[in-house]
């Protein structure tokens, strides 16, 4: 049967053979396609065009065709081909095998651990996207695919903004009805260059998964969207049995003022992966309606946004720095050198987040006391910096291979920079740390800063 596009199964377009129609929505239609061997299944998106069609639909298609080809990584479908927009508008991309988050959301509330697991995967996908200077702007269950092999992918870049390309949707004030419950305050006010908007939307998704309810309902008009600027959501723990750390994370995402949210998706992913590290504030304990004065405070913050966002600039995500501290061998001169390096980093980047890690050998039956001992040493190592809790965290890892443990931790927690000390040439007793430093340096997923106190005199070659 021919459909609105006059496209039927079996038809060929630029070497792609049209298969089953898998989705027909307001933005366009999706068909499974076969064609040149890419090694993965493919889908073709064809936008809705013609008389009476919404011009913003075409702008969205254009945004997707512009942004998708430059994206790298498993957080988005791989781009295959596109047709000239004015002649044969189509987009062929990877069909991601997995489960739509919409299916999971249909069964909400789901267990807090599952919420955290899914949420961390989405936050990691957003982190990868934000690093490529893209804000998704349409994070909602329909647009998240939980990959069969693990991890989350974000689909549909029809509202996305790339900081290096013109934003043709900048002046659009209409939003697709399915996205209204999830949209952040900034785009409601007309600002589309803030990656933290995606964290607000993810907060709505987490709230929905954890409680089965939408924190701001499903508004149909722009006026309804403004609610989120002044109305505090009902604390999720009053709707479902949710631990304080998860309420803390969700309500932090849903702050009206982006400056009070997580400053990077990486940090949010980190907290969702490490519930024990979540810094609990008054948000965690909130149990009833905020009351008039609380609402007034939110309203006031929302009001201030109007001015502030007029001049907002694309913020860099707050970087995560891993500092590897050797708590087994204390007292040698690597430590003051490493502490000096940390102090310099803190001075140069106020938004930075520090993760201090000590790797100790796994000792059978040593019990928790050894862990605790190293934790205390780590805490005392960090104390001179007087860091507020939300700026840092402490971790003691038990592993035989220190380099492998550091690398795995850095990968899992989206670390931007690893700082570690290497012993000087004369420190023979610590020579094995040299191999840790060189392995980390050669295999790290990010930059590595090796701190070394130059040895004196003849040692120096």
């Amino acid at each position: 049967m021919r459909d609105v596009h006059g496209i039927e199964p079996g038809a060929r377009i630029d070497g792609f053979e049209i298969g089953e129609r898998v989705h027909a929505g307001a933005m366009g239609t999706l068909y499974r396609v076969t064609g040149p061997d890419t090694g993965f299944p493919m889908v073709m998106k064809v936008p809705r065009l013609g008389e009476g069609e919404d011009a913003s639909g075409l702008l969205g298609f254009e945004a997707e065709v512009t942004i998708l080809p430059v994206l790298e990584g498993p957080q988005s479908p791989r781009f295959v081909a596109s047709g000239a927009i004015s002649k044969l508008p189509y987009l062929v991309m990877e069909w991601i095998e997995g489960t739509s988050l919409a299916e999971r959301a249909a069964h909400a509330p789901i267990a807090p651990e599952a919420v955290a697991h899914v949420g961390a995967a989405i936050a990691e996908a957003l982190h990868a996207l934000h690093r490529q200077e893209v804000v998704h702007h349409d994070v909602k269950p329909d647009n998240v695919i939980l990959r069969r092999e693990g991890g989350a992918a974000l689909i549909d870049y029809g509202l996305a903004r790339h900081a290096r390309f013109p934003d043709l949707l900048a002046e659009e004030r209409r939003f697709f009805s399915g996205s209204a419950p999830y949209i952040a305050p900034e785009p409601v006010l007309g600002t589309r260059n803030d990656a933290r908007s995606d964290l607000f939307s993810l907060g709505v998704v987490l709230y929905q998964l954890a409680t089965g309810h939408l924190p701001f309902g499903a508004p149909r008009a722009l006026a309804g969207l403004r609610d989120r600027l002044w109305r505090d959501p009902v604390p999720p723990a009053t709707l479902a049995p949710i631990p304080p750390w998860l309420q803390e994370v969700i309500l932090r995402c849903l702050e009206t003022d982006a400056a009070l949210r997580y400053q990077s998706a990486g940090h949010l992913a980190f907290d969702l992966r490490n519930p024990g590290q979540v810094e609990l504030t008054a948000r965690a304990a909130r149990s009833g309606s905020t009351g008039f004065w609380g609402q007034a405070a939110r309203w006031w913050r929302g009001h201030g946004l109007r001015l502030e966002h007029a001049t907002a600039r694309d913020p860099e995500p707050a970087p995560v720095v891993l500092v590897a501290v050797d708590t087994e061998n204390e007292g040698d001169d690597r430590h003051p050198a490493l502490q000096r390096a940390v102090r310099r980093i803190l001075a140069s980047a106020p938004e930075i987040r520090l993760v201090f890690v000590s790797v100790v050998p796994a000792v059978l039956d040593a019990g928790e006391s050894a862990q605790l001992e190293h934790r205390m040493r780590l805490r005392s190592w960090v104390s001179p910096f007087a860091l507020p809790p939300h700026r840092h965290s402490l971790h003691v890892l038990e592993a035989a291979d220190a380099a492998a443990a550091l690398l795995a931790f850095a990968r899992a927690n989206l670390v931007d920079l690893i700082v570690l000390g290497a012993p000087g040439p004369s420190q023979l007793r610590l020579a094995w740390w040299r191999s840790v430093a060189s392995t980390v340096t050669s295999q790290a997923p990010c930059s590595v800063h090796v701190v070394r106190r130059p040895a004196a005199g003849h040692d120096w070659v």
């Binding site: 254009e62 000239a84 290096r164 390309f165 934003d167 002046e171």
Partner: protein, 247 residues
């Protein structure tokens, strides 16, 4: 074909040569000089000699308001521009003046259009300084898909939206921006010879027609040398300071 779009050279030979070399190294086959070849800078003769040779090789060369003022009125020039104009007039011979007077205000090639200021009444030298001005420029040339201009000394990329609206974008240097033919685009390419945004590097743009991308570039050059020549020529000090990135 790749087009190198250079505007507002303003007699700055060092910046001009650096941008030409930069563009050639990136495969530019066609040079387009979007006007204001002279004025402000210390090398009008050398720049014009180079421009005449480029045109003989097929370059497109347009007239700007500073070029027109050599043998015309300059009523709206500020004091530094007026001083530089007087100085430049004293340096140019009859052949150079005749060359400047012969330059066109607008050049059309297929669905490409080149102009110094706005395509709407080009002889009025209107600044393309916002979406309103950009929209009037689009409207003046409905047949043009790609419009290229200079004159403001800043760089902007305007996209034509539906129903009489334009979208403005400040490009990030070095990024190839997709500019598909399904949409109309207006690029204001920045100044080769006198950027005014505090960044001393020269600005120009490369348009890759088959790939449908435009890349705005900033090119480091011997701006201290160019500023030194401006001082040595006795031109206003403010003109030397601009070249040093002191906006």
């Amino acid at each position: 074909m790749r087009f190198a779009l250079l505007a507002d050279v303003h007699a700055n030979l060092e910046a001009f040569e650096a941008c030409l070399a930069h563009a050639r190294a990136r495969g530019a086959a066609r040079i387009v000089l979007l006007g204001d070849l002279v004025g402000y800078g210390a090398d009008p003769e050398a720049v014009l000699t180079r421009v005449m040779a480029l045109r003989a090789e097929g370059a497109i060369v347009l007239k700007g308001n500073h070029d027109a003022a050599i043998d015309g009125p300059a009523g709206y020039f500020n004091e530094a521009a007026r001083e530089a104009l007087q100085w430049t007039r004293s340096r140019l011979d009859a052949a150079a003046r005749a060359f400047l007077a012969s330059l066109p205000l607008v050049v059309r090639e297929g669905d490409l259009i080149f102009v110094h200021a706005s395509a709407r009444d080009p002889e009025r030298w209107t600044y393309l300084d916002g979406t309103g001005a950009a929209q009037r420029c689009f409207d003046a040339e409905p047949g043009a898909n790609y419009l290229f201009a200079g004159h403001t000394h800043g760089h902007r990329l305007y996209a034509h939206l539906h129903e009489g609206r334009a979208n403005a974008f400040v490009p990030v240097p070095g990024t190839a921006i997709p500019v598909g033919r399904h949409r109309r685009w207006l690029a204001v390419v920045g100044a080769v010879g006198q950027p005014r945004d505090g960044d001393a590097r020269a600005a120009y743009a490369l348009f890759d027609e088959p790939a449908e991308t435009i890349t705005f570039h900033r090119v480091a050059y011997d701006h201290a040398g160019a500023a030194g020549k401006v001082r040595a020529a006795g031109l206003p000090r403010s003109l030397a300071q601009l070249l040093e990135g002191r906006a």
